[in-house]
């Protein structure tokens, strides 16, 4: 097994954009498919304490998409937008809005570029551009809270295992 590829985040202070950069040990046709085929998407997207439900998923340009993360108490967190362009296997451009915000209209635009690398590998670069710096920071910080929640959950699992061993 090759060493795990690192996830890189570029979020310069005071800017409205954030980049997520990651390489994969698979050709971009497969990576693109894992991003666009709803059956495959639910298998990796989302944090482990939530189930992911796909409400609408477009097959091409101009399609409306919506998915929900549902936590174990039944709380639903919805996200939706429109696919501007889906050009397999190289480019995916869409709008993105979190429905849980106090007001509508805080929409980001996401551009995912799937770049073919030598040796059947792929470099993914996702650029999200937000309406304001505050919107961007808010999005990242809410992600952080989810991340913290998840790691607590993982810790619980770990502690349970430890208890069973002792």
């Amino acid at each position: 097994m090759a060493t795990k590829n690192q996830t890189k985040i570029v979020a310069e202070p005071g800017r409205q954009e954030i980049f997520i950069i990651r390489e994969f040990e698979a050709p971009r046709e497969l990576v693109f498919k894992a991003f666009t085929d709803p059956k495959l998407l639910v298998r990796w997207l989302g944090v482990c304490d939530m189930t992911m439900k796909i409400d609408a998923w477009p097959s091409g340009d101009g399609g409306y998409w919506r998915f929900l993360h549902v936590d174990n108490k039944g709380n639903e967190f919805g996200f939706h937008g429109v696919t501007h362009e889906a050009t397999a296997p190289e480019r995916l451009i869409r709008t993105f809005e979190f429905e849980g915000l106090p007001e509508r209209g805080h929409v980001a635009m996401e551009t995912a570029i799937f770049e073919a690398l030598p040796g059947e590998r792929t470099r993914l670069t996702v650029q999200s551009v937000f309406r304001s710096v505050a919107d961007r920071d808010g999005m990242v910080q809410s992600g952080m809270e989810r991340g913290v929640l998840e790691s607590h959950e993982n810790l619980d699992v770990l502690l349970e295992k430890e208890l069973q061993l002792s």
Binding site: I9, P13, G14, F24, L40, G143, R146, S151
Partner: protein, 113 residues
């Protein structure tokens, strides 16, 4: 709109980032800092004022001189929230790695048939 005065605003500007680098290990007075830049002394003074308002620089009087001292504890705040966000995506991409391996294996068996 009210101007933001926090650590994020402080490091948004390249000149301000450079000032922080300069004084990170030693306190310097305004003239010593201004010497490192092509811009005017008042312009540097203005940037230092912003850094002070954001809490990243403390200005200390020593006799007639005013020294600028870096106060960098807050910088951890920035890297921490980005690191958590990174970990969140890293976990999802690990799952994607597994899925891609599976897809690759399926492709291979199909080719054999």
């Amino acid at each position: 709109m009210r101007t933001r005065r926090d650590v994020f605003q402080a490091i948004a500007d390249p000149t301000r980032r450079e000032i922080i680098n300069l004084i990170a290990y030693q306190s310097l007075n305004l003239n010593a800092i201004a010497e490192h830049f092509d811009v005017s002394r008042p312009a540097i003074s203005q940037q230092i004022k912003i850094l002070a308002e954001c809490g990243l620089v403390v200005i200390k009087k020593q006799g007639r001189e005013r020294y600028c001292e870096a106060s960098l504890g807050q910088l951890g705040e920035v890297s921490q929230w980005i690191e958590r966000y990174r970990q969140l995506w890293d976990r999802q991409f690990s799952k994607l790695d597994d899925l891609l391996e599976e897809m690759k294996a399926k492709g291979r068996t199909r080719k054999k048939k």
